[in-house]
Amino acid sequence: MSRDDKTEPKTVINESGIEIAPLYGADEVEASGGFGFVGRPGEYPFTRGIHPLMYRKQPWTMRQYTGFGNAEQTNERFRYLIANGQTGLNVAFDLPTQCGLDSGDPLAEGEVGRVGMAVDTLRDFEIAFEGIDLDRITVSLTINGSAAILIAMYLAMAEKRGYDIARLRGTAQNDILKEFIGRGTWIFPVEPSIRLVGDTIEYCARHAPKYSPVSVCGYHIRESGATPAQEMAYAFCIAKAYADEVLRRGLPIDEFAGRLSYNFNIFGNIFEQVAKFRAGRGLWAKIMKEQYGAQKPGSMWLRMIAGGGGGGLTFEQPEVNIVRGAYYALIAALSGAQTMALCCYDEAYTIPSEYAQRISLRTMQLMIEEMGLTDTVDPLGGSWYVETLTNRMRQAMEEIMAEVDAQGGIVRLISEGIIQAKVSAQAYRRQRDIESGKFRKVGVNCYRIEGEEERKVEMHPYHEEDAQRQVERLNGIRAQRDARRAREALERVRADARSGANLMPAILEAVQGYCSVGEIASELVGVFGRYHEPIRF
């Protein structure tokens, strides 16, 4: 349409496929289903928030994703962030740790400590969290394929320091199904992978009931090419798959659903994002109540970390990402996220510098201190536009979930690579639309400045000798530990993997005996085998 055609406004359709009107009023809300799903914060269906007072009672937890090199270097960065007002930790592990390999494994060459902290044994956890009060600072472990081992390490470390596991709070990402869609740190085939998630949920429900053993991630599904509505719908399908696994073991829904949590992405259209979160809260509550018969309100709560959003940031003109991050934080606050993590402006280049991390932290802090975002619950509630869009987004998510069920369920669609092919086709179309200028990205396909980006970013150094030191530490521990205890613990891991028993007690024994991530994972691989990626386009 030409610019001088003033008779008709151009059609606007958001990323989730919902057409946006130029103006909203009460009629549009009615046509979309009315105000029936709104309710009050702290009450079913929780669209406006899971707590009655939300941030008025307690602002969001600030939890920047951090970790690199070895446990000493990571501990130093943790302390820096806490000294700067961060209220939680979110640990990044290197790829060998995430893939269940020891630092000395040939496949780990060049990767030790590169994108996160290297962890081989309990000793690394003892060092990483030294001097950090685990009652005051809750810790989130971004770990998936090897999550059962790392959760065990965290519990063992806390117990050793005198914390009561029954009261210990914290979160593990431990969402393996989304790793098969995006992020890719899987180890075992789909079925035993789900069993391991079930083992951690069941174990924590019985022994560490305040610990959140899973954070189901729409985040990476969105990064892989999903729309905002798909992001949330697929995450719900995955959470249901885990819930079904635990229910099969005879644990009632209200004994574990309250510790399921979520991790969502934020980039793109502000109102679509806010509506996504409001819609998601209402839909998850409805699913838990109506499909699962949950009774406790906590079982119906959509608890989440939100922020991000790597996919929205650009390599071009990186300092503009600071502004994008501020909008993402604003969206998270307007959406009622319990916890925030913001991507740093330099993330397309390198591990974030202290400076970049501090800017992200200050972004969240100034919303609390200066902007009034903690004063009132769900400040956009009641807007005709936001309420209409919330209804439409919820309906879109329900349609996507029904489609998944009709096609055989999320586990099948992931196992066969069908979801992966679908979102990657969308990512390809989006990239073409960016390159043609149809989908606008500031600094990328409009308002470009050629060739001045890199000098604005301080590159994080990588020291190969740190990797060697990590291998030496592991070798030293192997030489010193009680060899018989370690061997017997590993034998029990293998036996329990075979028998179908819950693996957590055996894995805990193994980490307490200073068995390594790689040793424990290879016992499990010996029984379960390895995942083979379906290649489908």
Binding site: L95, P96, Q98, C99, L101, L107, A108, E109, G110, E111, R114, V115, E179, G182, R183, G184, T185, E223, S224, G225, F315, E316, A348, Y349, T350, S424, A425, A427, Y428, Q431, R432, E435, V444, E454, M459, Y462, E464, E533, I535, F537
Partner: protein
């Protein structure tokens, strides 16, 4: 210009432990749309596996996608394996999160095409066609 008897064959590989495959899969689709035959390896390929697949699939182009920073150590191990397998005359290209400070080293290792974040798909296709079309 030579008339090719068959479409260009490209292996797109994900080296090492890096699990970020969104970009690699986007590039695979772009090359397929451009009429090339693409073999996508999936994640977690060792240097030995990349060399073996390239040899078995009789490819014209060996393309790596690296997002997690281990491109230099990986490529240093891959180079002699490609050469010993007689793949030294193929076109080697790499894309992803590749800091400018590493480009000269990648070129010295034999990677003619270096496509850092922000490269247009059509430019990748055009580069491959120009070198091997």
């Amino acid at each position: 210009m030579n008339v090719r008897s068959r479409p260009l064959r490209v292996v797109v590989a994900k080296p090492g432990l890096d699990g970020h495959d969104q970009g690699a899969k986007v590039v695979v689709r772009a090359l397929m749309d451009a009429g090339m035959e693409v073999i996508y390896t999936g994640l977690r390929q060792s240097p030995e596996a990349v060399a073996r697949i390239a040899l078995e699939e009789d490819v014209d182009v060996i393309a790596l996608s690296s997002m997690a920073g281990s491109h230099l150590p990986f490529c240093r191990r891959l180079k002699p394996l490609l050469e010993v397998n007689g793949l030294g005359d193929k076109l080697w290209v790499i894309g992803g999160n590749l800091p400018a400070q590493d480009h000269a080293a990648l070129r010295a290792l034999g990677f003619e095409g270096i496509f850092p974040t922000g490269t247009r798909l059509d430019d990748i296709v055009a580069f491959i066609r120009e070198k091997r079309g």
